[in-house]
């Protein structure tokens, strides 16, 4: 089912013209209301009236996560506080989180793109949708919630965790759709198998999974475990949250809702715009957002865009599943983790040197993080209890900074490989 036939099947020319009109409005908006952007445009020697078509986008400066942090919390907002009806914040924190805001219209637009996404998995008002994404500051739960309500499906806002209750309600309420991170889906699938729940007692038919990278193998595994069709949804809070793009039943890429978010692919090193089909960093310009419109926001996700018409009939540009990151960010159990965050925790402790290695693995479908830290002469105590207490302190500091539990392993000095160039700080064994 296509939720918004008019937009989703629009001709490329009509889409370009709609985008151009909205881009001009957005550039005016940020020029008027956001001092940061006014200064950025001035420095680049661009007047708002210079931006006429989508092609002119390439003259505009980029926005990065650092810009959001530097303007924490509301410095990039283009709407007055009384018009902001919702605040979310991303989990990826180096001291400060990334704050995003929504006006009433932004929430309506978000609901619209999530409704379009759900419709791609053929969700309708007869469905019972179990939203097992986290609710709260994280955009996953509420994002899916509003979109599902817009469609008129029955929403179970159970949030993430409490697996026993998830399985209970899934059976008692007859959930037909599951939405959560792919790792939690897989975890729930295992739990169903372990609990010996007969497939006939479940009515699940599809799952909509996102917020972390997952492979084709993982899709197959989840589809077998839960006996459902698994769909990939993509989004990031800086752009809107879940519902920036979504897979249709053809499963040959995720359709970007480009009437709201204009995608570009750039070379992450030269920042030059690349043509369709080439691999590079995904960049978004939000052209309808009121509270926090971002110009050329660098997602750091590496992917390709395709503009040919999909067999499903949609003309919206498709993005491939992201193949990696142009920075060193890891997504561990849905949480953004930068090795530099671990480094700053170690530096601040004054008890360790920043020689560390992150080892990420996936055990029983859940991500695990081990942090190896070198023991230095000056911090080496010859008492087991003191070293164990040091391990515990590192564990707690990492937990409070990153919000995830890591196994801390003390290793001998100079055993973590040094290299002349960029240090190898991460071993990711998940093969994503």
């Amino acid at each position: 089912m296509i939720w918004n036939q008019h937009i989703e099947c629009m001709s490329r020319e009509a889409m370009r013209s709609l985008q151009a009109q909205r881009l001009r409005e957005t550039v005016n908006r940020i020029h008027t209301h956001v001092p940061f952007y006014r200064q950025q445009l001035q420095q680049a020697g661009i007047r708002p009236e210079d931006i006429k078509t989508v092609d002119d986008l390439q003259h505009l400066p980029f926005t990065t996560k650092l810009d959001l942090r530097d303007n924490y919390p509301f410095g990039l907002f283009a709407a007055p506080q009384q018009d902001v009806v919702r605040l979310h914040a991303s989990s990826g924190t180096t001291g400060k989180s990334t704050v995003v805001g929504y006006t009433h219209n932004d929430i309506l637009m978000w609901s619209e793109v999530v409704a379009r996404s759900l419709a791609m998995a053929d969700v309708n008002r007869n469905d019972i949708i179990q939203v097992a994404y986290g609710y709260g500051l994280f955009t996953g739960g509420l994002g899916l919630h509003y979109g599902a309500e817009k469609i008129g499906a029955s929403v179970i806002p159970i949030s993430v965790g409490n697996t026993k209750k998830q399985l209970q309600l899934m059976q008692d309420f007859g959930s037909t759709i599951l939405t959560c991170t792919p790792s939690y889906a897989s975890f729930l699938g295992e739990a169903i198998r372990e609990a010996g729940i007969e497939r006939s007692r479940l009515r699940l038919r599809a799952g909509i999974f996102g917020a972390e990278p997952w492979t084709a193998e993982m899709r197959k595994e989840i589809e077998e475990l839960l006996a459902i069709q698994a769909f990939d949804i993509y989004g990031l809070s800086e752009v809107i949250g879940p519902g920036v793009s979504m897979e249709c039943p053809m499963q040959n890429g995720l359709h970007v809702f480009e009437d709201h978010f204009i995608p570009e692919i750039i070379d992450p090193d030269t920042c030059e715009v690349l043509p369709y089909g080439e691999l590079g960093e995904l960049v978004f310009t939000s052209v309808t957002k009121e509270a926090l419109p971002l110009i050329r926001y660098r997602t750091r996700d590496l992917t390709r865009l395709h503009a040919d018409v999909c067999e499903c009939g949609r003309t919206l540009v498709r993005m491939e599943k992201c193949v990696g990151r142009s920075d060193d960010m890891l997504i561990i159990r849905g949480v953004n983790v930068f090795p530099s965050q671990v480094e700053s925790v170690l530096m601040e402790m004054n008890e360790t040197k920043p020689h560390y290695l992150l080892i990420v693995d996936r055990e029983h479908n859940l991500d695990t993080l081990e942090i190896q830290v070198e023991v230095e002469d000056q911090f080496f105590s010859d008492e087991v209890g003191e070293l164990e207490a040091l391990q515990q302190r590192i564990h707690q500091n990492i937990q409070s900074m990153l919000g995830i539990s890591a196994r801390i392993k003390l290793v001998e000095p100079r055993t973590i490989e040094r290299s002349a160039g960029k240090a190898q700080r991460v071993i990711d064994n998940r093969k994503l």
Binding site: E383, V384, L387, K409, E412
Partner: protein, 140 residues
């Protein structure tokens, strides 16, 4: 009375202990007592050696985390109740033992002890006629 014990941080990996004993052997350093304290992830090798200063230098040069800790080596008669007498005295005088390890040969046993107050421990035990190895006389 105080003897310099050498402690080395060890990952629980095969061959690490052999590397240390090899390095000490090459430099003519004799080990008269040792113990390994271990957790699930790592171990701490503690040793009484003939030349703790040299041992520290050569092991550090090979990249090991090394620490010199003061301990005392109590000599007790190798008879029933020999150790008990000394430990009872420490307990009565409120001296807490952090760790200890021991070996017995012939008539005597040597107990390596790390305590919260080494000086007090030595004083208490000597006042009661207990004996300690002298520094430099590590090899009884």
């Amino acid at each position: 009375m105080i003897i310099r014990q050498l402690s080395v941080f060890l990952e629980n990996k095969t061959g690490r202990l052999t590397e240390i004993t090899g390095i000490l052997a090459e430099h003519g350093i004799d080990i008269s007592a040792f113990s390994i304290a271990d957790s699930t992830d790592f171990g701490i090798l503690r040793m009484i050696t003939s030349d703790p200063g040299l041992a520290e230098t050569v092991l550090k040069a090979q990249g090991f985390a090394v620490k010199i800790t003061d301990v005392a080596c109590l000599v007790v008669p190798h008879v029933p109740g020999g150790l008990h007498k000394a430990l009872r005295l420490l307990s009565e005088h409120g001296v807490a033992i952090d760790y200890m390890y021991a070996y017995a040969t012939g008539d005597n046993a040597v107990v390596v002890i790390r305590a919260d107050s080494l000086e007090k421990m030595i004083r208490v035990l000597e006042e009661h006629g207990e004996k300690f190895l002298e520094p430099g006389g590590d090899n009884p």
